[in-house]
């Protein structure tokens, strides 16, 4: 069997996925072939190094609150949608009342009134959006102990 094919098998040998026949092929080949035996040893050392590679662990508390974070976000979704719609309606109503005089003034052109209402609607949506973002950021500060 060609060396390249044996080397591919060697690469999987230490993962214990080869069949008995494939393992036998590798073992017999490396008895005869110095370069493949060297490859086998180097791959063994490489696997040892890789087995010690670990990604940074978060504090244990992260796992304790992980599910509750997911659950809360699932639960709160509908609440947030209703809250946002309600807040937008209320703020828009309050804003409209504040500028009612301008809107009802027949001397002001219609285009300007539409523009003013557009600015008001945009402002309200932005305010609610920023408010929600602030609350989310505060919620996420529970992870402030997590090392970055």
């Amino acid at each position: 069997m060609e060396h390249e094919k044996i080397r591919e098998l060697i690469s999987s040998y230490h993962d214990s996925v080869l069949s008995a026949e494939q393992r036998r092929l590798v073992e017999e080949h490396i008895k005869e072939c110095d370069s493949c035996r060297k490859e086998f040893e180097e791959m063994r050392k490489f696997e040892e190094v890789m087995d010690k590679m670990e990604l940074k662990k978060p504090p244990k508390e992260v796992w304790q609150i992980y599910w509750s974070s997911v659950y809360n976000r699932l639960e709160r979704r509908i609440g947030w949608i209703l809250f946002s719609i309600g807040a937008i309606i209320i703020l828009f109503y309050v804003g409209y009342k504040a500028i009612e005089g301008i809107i009802q003034d027949p001397t002001i052109p219609l285009l300007l009134k539409v523009g003013i209402l557009g600015v008001l609607a945009g402002l309200v949506v932005l305010l609610v959006s920023i408010g929600r973002e602030r609350i989310f950021v505060r919620q996420k500060e529970r992870y402030k102990e997590v090392e970055k």
Binding site: S11, D15, V17, M43, F46, Y66, L74, K140, Y143
Partner: protein
């Protein structure tokens, strides 16, 4: 009346399944069938089972613990919202992995748009002092692998997935997994070799 009885029967079944869940005797498929009925408590079993894999896969992609937590949780939320479309005859994680990976890729696109700092400089490894340089170089090597090889290395060495599990998650035959792993290992072995004195 008949429909009411059927609904009551369903509720009784759900109650029984919840009690069985507490005793952890349900298979993943059975749990997911309960979740598909909108039962969030049952979903806890799935989240707890896969949260660490989800987090570490995301961390390997995004290199930031806070973002990895957020993305992995977002993926579970998104999966729950789409759970009715999930085929319970199939394993959950490969389906979930696609959602998670898409969120990680979205994260990269957002970072690119904002011209944020490259991720290579962010430390995500547990590193002992004596082999610090080698592991740093090795991680850099992993980062520079073609995307499909990088994914396989992450799943194999950082989550200890079997070849079959990797094939399921990535939707590729085992032979392709084996071959990609071989080429990835060859490249990475070259890096280790510089530190361990391979010729």
């Amino acid at each position: 009346m008949q429909q009411e009885t059927a609904l009551n029967g369903d509720a009784v079944l759900l109650g029984a399944k919840n009690r069985m869940l507490e005793k952890k005797v349900l298979s993943e498929r059975e749990i997911l069938e309960v979740v598909q009925k909108g039962n969030k408590e049952a979903y806890q079993e799935i989240v707890v089972r896969y949260m660490q894999s989800a987090y570490y896969v995301a961390l390997a992609f995004v290199h930031n613990q806070q973002d990895a937590l957020d993305i992995s949780q977002d993926a579970f939320i998104r999966a729950f919202r789409r759970i009715k479309k999930f085929d319970t005859e199939k394993p959950f994680f490969p389906w979930f992995y696609k959602i998670l990976k898409n969120l990680c890729l979205d994260y990269f696109k957002r970072r690119q748009r904002r011209h944020e700092v490259p991720l290579e400089n962010v430390r995500v490894l547990e590193v002992e002092h004596e082999d610090r340089e080698m592991k740093k170089a090795l991680w850099k090597g992993i980062e520079e692998l073609p995307p499909e090889q990088k994914e396989i290395i992450i799943l194999r060495y950082f989550r200890q997935f079997s070849y079959q599990e990797m094939a399921d998650v990535l939707g590729k035959p085992i032979g392709t997994i084996m071959s990609s792993l071989y080429y990835a290992k060859r490249r990475l072995k070259g890096i280790v070799g510089k530190y361990l004195g391979f010729d």
